[in-house]
Each structure stands twice: as structure tokens, then as C-alpha cells.
């Protein structure tokens, strides 16, 4: 499968697309000056999704280990931050560090045994992981406030709340973009792609594949954990069934896959596409109840026609024709 060429930025039309992306980000930075709270909040949600997707991209896109439970790190980040703020009385940023470190530690502990598993088995082990985390959180009531959750104080001063969360989320996303660019030019990034393309060859060539995979996993946890920390503080309460929703895993995967796994801007672009798509469908076609059916159908269609996301079309590698859409089927049918 011609998934994810090991391209630095966009592959083909580097300059133009990079310029567009930078311009877009600058515009985003200026949005709070003229937009309403509603838009800021919506964009913040998109940013948090993008951050999680960027993280997932490390383990799922670049390394090729489809993790299906990254929402577990989101939840750990949220809970860790909340607990640090409530029990240890840490200020937000310090608490966020706690939450993120907790998520990363968790990723390392779980990753070491579970990353030895081949593709499939790893994937489902991570599904189990997320579900188990949700259960544990519900169970450990003294620690986590159980089914009622934890309540956090509002951001102070309240009138700047929207802006604050908007900007730190945007910062997180931009940090993620930079981090991806940075890593893909270093040995670690190369090791990820080597592991994905041929793990045996990677081992034989001197790559400590366990280390490589665990770092990818831990970094994905870092991004998800940070997103969770921000989300927790933003919504002011942290509830197990909210922060361990399997929906979020699906969204971050879909966003990455839509935009282009194993590319720098893929998750970022994919998150926007995803949100636009869902919004169109939910608001204009009133498919509220069937929201998940739509989500599922989109995933199915993407998997059948364009699993490498739209990045190939954007960068000019493929033309958007019926034929190129059918190519995937031609390559992978029975």
C-alpha cells in the first residue's frame, strides 16, 4: 500500500502548501480578536482533536502500530491534572505537567509488554486498555470521585477564559507540528518508519525496535495527555465516562487517516475536515441520533476508497478521479 511516503512536509508542492499552512495558522492566531465565543470554543475543540491526532500519528501513522486506546492517555492526563490541582493545590501549568507525565509513564508501562505484539494483537490490546481504564476510574471512587467525577475551579479571570483555552490549545497544536518536523529529521523518526515498513530489517540494521516503539507510544500519550489536561480544566469537571470515551480514539484516528497518516500536516488538516464534515451532517441534515452511524459510514468509505487520506491528492501525487479512488480496491481486493 502506497501509504505515507516518508516525506518531510507535503511531498510534492512543498513551498506553496507550507506557505498556505503558515498563513492559515496566523489567521487562526488572530481569530479571537474578531470572533465570538462560540467560534473560539469550536476551534478549541478542533485544536484538541488535532493535538491528539498528531500524537496518534507518531505511533499509528509513522510507526505503523495502530493503537486503538489512546483516549486512555487523554483520560489519565485529565485525571492527573485534576488531582494535582485539587489534592496538591498545584497551579494549572504545573498540574498539567503532572498529568502529562502520568500519561507518558502509563504509556511506557503498558507499552513495554503490549508493543511486542504484532499489529492486530497490539491494536485490540489497546482497545481493551481504554475500556479497562474507564472501568478502573469508575471503580476507584476515593481516588477519582467515581461516577460523580472531579470538579475543578473556573479559570480566573473568567472573561478571558475562552481566549486562554483557545491559545493554549493552538499552542499545543503548533508545538505538535514542530515536534513532528523535528523528530522526522532525527534518527528516532527514521527508526519509526523503518519499524513500520519492515520491522525485521529494522532490527537487523541496529535499531532497538522496542525503544523506538515505546517512545512513539509515549509521545502519543504526551499529546493526548496534554489535550486531556486542557480539556479537563476547560470543562471544569472530569468524569470517567466523559474522558475515556472510545469516540475520541476514533476521532483522532479518523482525523489522522483523513488528512494523511505519516505526514506532518495530515492530522492537522484531517481534524478540520472531520469537524466540517460532522457539523454539516449533524446540523444541516439533522442526523443527530444517527451521528455515529454517519461516523462509521465515513470511516468505512475512507477505508475502502482512500485509506491514505487526502494528503496524496493535496500534494499532487494523485489526481482526484474515479479511477484513483478505485485504485485502493484494485490493489487490495481478494
Amino acid at each position: 500500500m502506497k501509504i505515507t511516503r516518508f516525506d518531510k512536509l507535503f511531498g510534492g508542492r512543498n513551498g506553496v502548501l507550507l506557505g498556505l499552512a503558515v498563513a492559515f495558522i496566523l489567521i487562526l492566531a488572530l481569530v479571537p480578536l474578531f470572533a465570538s465565543g462560540f467560534w473560539m470554543r469550536t476551534l478549541t475543540m478542533i485544536f484538541l482533536l488535532a493535538a491528539m491526532a498528531e500524537g496518534w500519528n507518531y505511533i499509528g501513522g509513522y510507526t505503523g502500530y495502530a493503537a486503538f486506546g489512546n483516549v486512555a492517555f487523554f483520560g489519565v492526563g485529565a485525571y492527573g491534572t485534576a488531582l494535582a490541582m485539587l489534592r496538591l493545590h498545584f497551579p494549572f501549568f504545573l498540574a498539567m505537567v503532572v498529568g502529562v507525565l502520568a500519561a507518558m509513564a502509563f504509556a511506557v508501562i503498558i507499552g513495554l509488554p503490549v508493543l511486542r505484539l504484532k499489529g492486530h494483537y497490539f491494536a485490540i490490546a489497546t482497545v481493551a486498555l481504554a475500556t479497562a481504564m474507564g472501568e478502573l476510574a469508575d471503580f476507584w471512587t476515593s481516588f477519582t470521585g467515581g461516577a460523580a467525577g472531579l470538579t475543578l475551579p473556573f479559570f480566573n479571570p473568567l472573561k478571558w477564559s475562552n481566549q486562554f483555552f483557545y491559545y493554549i490549545s493552538l499552542l499545543l497544536v503548533v508545538f505538535g507540528l514542530w515536534l513532528t518536523y523535528f523528530l522526522m529529521n532525527r534518527k528516532l523518526g527514521y527508526s519509526w518508519v523503518a519499524v513500520r515498513e519492515n520491522e525485521d530489517a529494522a532490527r537487523m540494521m541496529g535499531i532497538n525496535t522496542t525503544w523506538s516503539k515505546v517512545t512513539a507510544f509515549a509521545l502519543s500519550a504526551m499529546m493526548a495527555g496534554a489535550a486531556g489536561a486542557i480539556y479537563g480544566y476547560w470543562s471544569t469537571f472530569v468524569l470517567a465516562e466523559e474522558v475515556f470515551k472510545i469516540d475520541y480514539t476514533l476521532q483522532m484516528i479518523l482525523a489522522t487517516v483523513l488528512g494523511g497518516p505519516g505526514t506532518i500536516f495530515g492530522p492537522f488538516i484531517g481534524s478540520f475536515i472531520y469537524y466540517i464534515l460532522i457539523t454539516l451532517l449533524v446540523f444541516f441534515f439533522h442526523v443527530g441520533e444517527f451521528h455515529e452511524t454517519i461516523l462509521g459510514t465515513i470511516i468505512i468509505l475512507v477505508m475502502v476508497f482512500t485509506p491514505q487520506g487526502i494528503m496524496d491528492f493535496l500534494s499532487g501525487k494523485k489526481k482526484l478521479t474515479i479511477s484513483s479512488l478505485l485504485e485502493n480496491i484494485r490493489m487490495h481486493r481478494v
Binding site: F6, Y190, E197, D200, A201, R203, M204, M205, I207, N208
Partner: protein, 259 residues
């Protein structure tokens, strides 16, 4: 004259469940030589190499590299101390360009530690020059034809700057002209100071390139010696062509000497 032993295998044994794929094999590889490893299909040649290079866990026995015990070392550690190998079924990194493929070897192999990714890419250019694939530098690995894929496999191993290189059937699937240039390449690699163990079925290559040959059958050593000695050894011929063939040859000889 004492030649330095670069790799020594002592009673190397590998069992898969009840099946002994490799049984008590003793082998010495001398620095600077090109050692051939032959044997009928299923003799255990690739398994032997897999065990030596850490791809498969060893059942019993010992392996020494430059005097150091490397028995049971994981594959990546072995890759870092100066041993490299190619795979029979090529394992390219399809999503990467040829240059990046080779650079990975330079990044993580023997002298990789001190190299930055930039240096590794430059080293890759050098290696690609050596194997005469520079014109394909920017192509993605999935665009290559088989002979070039095999050459890429070799380049990746060379980029690791190994002292000992295992080649697993690099000539398979090549036409006579390609075999000639592959043989030439192997000689050039050896001239640069790399010790080689070459697993082959193509006897012309064995005869033309190796100084010494080791024969494996049913996981055990069958014979050892120069290519001429080994290729004319009755047991070896029997192993490849069967007992009946040897009998028929004998009878033909007798008829000729009689009539």
C-alpha cells in the same frame, strides 16, 4: 600462519519444537575470507545465519565474534557491533527513498553512533556510488525491479560498515549477466576488507568467488574445503542430486572404461 578468526560458532543447535533445524554445527570464519555456505534446500543454512545474527533464539551452543561471546544477543545489538546481513526475501523500506533506505544502515549500524542523520545521508550517497545505484537515489524503494532491490539490500548492509557480512542467496533470480556483476561486486566488497559468508545455490558463483566452502545438510556439517574439493565430494553430490544419480554416474563411468 595463524589467521584471525572473526567469528566462531561452537556446537550451534536450533530446534523448532521437535525438529532439529541446525544440529551441533562448528564453524570458524577467518578474517578477510569469502566463505561459501551451501547445501540442499531445507539444509538449515538460513536458519543458521538467523541464529548467529540474533534473529532467532539459539537452542544451544556458543557464538563468538572477535573473541567476544555474543550468544543470545538480540539482533539489533549484533547489528551495531559490526555484523550485517542481507535477507533472502528482500526487506526494503518501501515508503522510503533508496537513499533513505541506505541511510538507515549508516545511522544505526556499526559506526552509526557518532553520525547525525545528515552524515548518514552522505554516507548513503557514498555506498550507492559503490554499488552503482546513484541514479536511483531519489526513487522510492517500491519502484525498483528485483535486481536493484537485491542491490539495495546489499547497500543497506554495507552502509552499516560491517566487518562481517552474511549474504543470503543474493544471486537468486538473476540472469547470467546480472550474476557476473553481482560476483564482481562481492569481490570488490571483500577487497575493501569485509569478511563474507555467502549462502548460494548458484554453483558458478560459489566456484568463482569463494576460497573455502562449508556444506550443510539436514542441519549438520557435511563437508568443508575448497570449492573444487567440495563440489566433487561424493557425499555432497549425493545430497544435492540423490543417491540414484551417483549410482548412475558410477555405472556410466564403468561402461566407458570397459567399452
Amino acid at each position: 600462519m595463524e589467521r584471525e578468526v572473526i567469528l566462531e560458532a561452537q556446537k550451534v543447535t536450533k530446534h523448532f519444537g521437535g525438529l532439529a533445524a541446525v544440529q551441533d554445527v562448528d564453524m570458524k570464519i577467518y578474517r578477510g575470507e569469502i566463505l561459501g555456505l551451501i547445501g540442499p534446500n531445507g539444509a538449515g543454512k538460513t536458519t543458521f545465519v538467523n541464529v548467529i545474527t540474533g534473529m532467532l533464539p539459539i537452542t544451544s551452543g556458543k557464538v563468538y565474534f572477535k573473541g567476544k561471546d555474543i550468544t543470545g544477543w538480540s539482533a539489533y545489538r549484533i547489528g551495531r557491533i559490526g555484523i550485517a546481513r542481507t535477507f533472502q526475501i528482500v526487506k526494503p523500506f518501501r515508503g522510503m527513498t533508496v537513499r533513505e533506505n541506505v541511510a538507515v544502515g549508516a545511522m544505526f549500524g556499526h559506526k552509526g553512533k557518532e553520525r547525525s542523520t545528515k552524515d548518514a545521508l552522505r554516507k548513503a550517497d557514498e555506498v550507492l556510488d559503490f554499488v552503482e545505484m546513484s541514479h536511483l537515489r531519489t526513487k522510492h524503494a517500491d519502484e525498483l525491479t528485483l535486481p536493484y532491490l537485491k542491490r539495495l539490500e546489499l547497500a543497506k548492509a554495507l552502509a552499516m560498515e560491517p566487518e562481517l557480512l552474511f549474504l543470503d542467496e543474493v544471486m537468486a533470480g538473476l540472469n547470467p549477466k546480472e550474476i557476473e556483476s553481482a560476483m564482481e561486486l562481492v569481490r570488490r566488497i571483500n577487497e575493501r576488507g569485509v569478511t563474507l559468508l555467502v549462502i548460494e545455490h548458484v554453483m558458478k558463483a560459489i566456484a568463482g568467488v569463494t576460497e573455502r566452502v562449508f556444506v550443510l545438510n539436514f542441519g549438520m556439517e557435511l563437508a568443508q574445503g575448497t570449492p573444487e574439493e567440495v563440489l566433487n565430494h561424493p557425499d555432497v553430490i549425493k545430497a544435492y542430486l540423490g543417491e540414484k544419480f551417483v549410482e548412475r554416474q558410477k555405472r556410466k563411468q564403468q561402461l566407458r572404461s570397459n567399452g
